[in-house]
Amino acid sequence: MTKNAKYEAIVVGTSAGGLNALFVLLETLPANFPLPIIIVQHRSKDKNDLLEEVLQNKCKVKIKQADEKEKIEKGVVYIAPPDYHVLIENDLTLSLSADEYVQFSRPSIDVLFESAAGVYKDKLIGIILTGANSDGASGIRLIKANDGLTIAQKPEEAFSPVMPSAAIKTNAVTHIWPLSKIRDFLLTLNN
């Protein structure tokens, strides 16, 4: 067993420039990828945007919008719906919340990361990609405090460096990697 086999879930947070970054990360993943991935991409309240469809068009792995009390499955990528926070329950289902904005955002990356850290502890990988505010930094800190693995996109190559930089500033980021390296790392989980 490799050391990677211990991980049980991946959470990803991104904002401005996130769509292109997500393509890079998700495009090469096989349909039977062994972990679930839960993503907060900041998005407008408009319920008619086609984020999930646009991603699915280029990806082999299954991509869907997170549903209320849905069981988390391996090999599925869940995207937070517009205007709701996503949280993880102890029984490994997804919960939605319409609580107030956190870091000016709903969905908020911090809300997802903090609840995921409490459930998955050291079996969680948290990834912060390009973005223009500091949502996710507090979540990254909590993932690290629970001995999870934390990764930030290298700010120099990010479309918007603010979000990965804010995460890195917490001193809780294990790896600062370019996107291509994060992608390659995800592929190593698939053995």
Partner: protein
């Protein structure tokens, strides 16, 4: 399960026994987050310490309840929902001589005024009564006052227009300094009352029940309980409107409702 999670369960169980407020079937992730938030803002160190305080001090308990049961919403949140109500439900409501609407979990009242405005524009408000209930007394008080921050009016106006609003939104309120007060005429047929979906029973028969973004805070059993309660509270062919990510999926009454608008989560009691 983490030790915090166990302690939160114990706290909720004690609250149920001591005060009769039952949060034990609330979805844990959100309620934990709110309790943690309460702890951090009150400079309390641990959940054990919180438990000691609230079980001894009723006032502290009240404050905790206000914090963990508060919900936020906006006027005409999800304009497409209100548009669908207008297009698919209003005509059928108009066939009743007298219309009773229950807004369950009305929070600080934004939904109430949205529905009242819609009914007024469809000329149904003067023969309607809106029962507005929430577990949170502080929220109910705000709802009753009908005073809102003027800062939000721009986005509410935008929502109103996209919801198929027929007039100028500013006709419905008076602005003064930083607040707006909704028109008295909208409020004349509203009954405000505390009601707890986790423990209380049905109290009337309604043609329309609206309960949006409340069920997401419940676990599956409590969601089922609430939907049974709505079922029992609806007249035959009465309507139920839920939040855009909620559904009848976890309800054993699922087959006794028909879709009116699947996307907007509007259902009709059919059996």
């Amino acid at each position: 399960m983490s030790s915090d999670s166990k302690k939160i369960r114990e706290l909720l169980e004690s609250i149920r026994l001591v005060y009769g407020y039952d949060f034990t079937d609330y979805a844990e992730a959100s309620i934990s987050r709110r309790i943690q938030h309460f702890i951090s803002t009150r400079k309390i160190e641990t959940i054990d310490e919180l438990a000691k305080i609230v079980l001894k001090d009723e006032k502290a308990f009240e404050e905790l309840v206000q914090e963990i049961s508060v919900t936020v919403t906006e006027l005409f949140r999800d304009p497409s929902f209100y548009k669908s109500l207008r297009e698919n439900v209003v005509k059928r409501l108009a066939t009743y001589p007298f219309i009773k609407v229950w807004i369950a979990g009305c929070a600080t009242g934004e939904e109430i005024y949205s529905v009242a405005i819609l009914l007024k524009e469809e000329e149904l408000l003067n023969r309607s009564v809106i029962y507005a209930t929430d577990i949170n007394q502080k929220s109910l008080k705000i709802a009753k006052e009908g005073l809102y921050n003027i800062e939000n009016m721009k986005s509410y106006t935008h929502n109103y227009q996209h919801a198929g609003g027929k007039r100028s939104f500013s006709e419905y309120y008076i602005a003064k300094y930083n607040t707006v007060l909704f028109d008295k005429s909208l409020r004349q047929n509203i009954v405000f009352s505390p009601h707890n979906l986790a423990v209380d029973k049905s109290f009337n028969e309604f043609q329309l029940v609206i309960c949006r973004n409340v069920l997401i805070y419940f676990n599956q059993q409590l969601q089922n309980r609430a939907i049974n309660l709505f079922y029992d509270s609806l007249c035959p062919f009465g309507f139920l409107g839920l939040g855009s990510k909620e559904s009848l999926l976890f309800s054993d009454k699922q087959k006794q409702f028909e879709d009116v608008d699947k996307k907007e989560k509007i259902y009709m009691k059919s059996k």
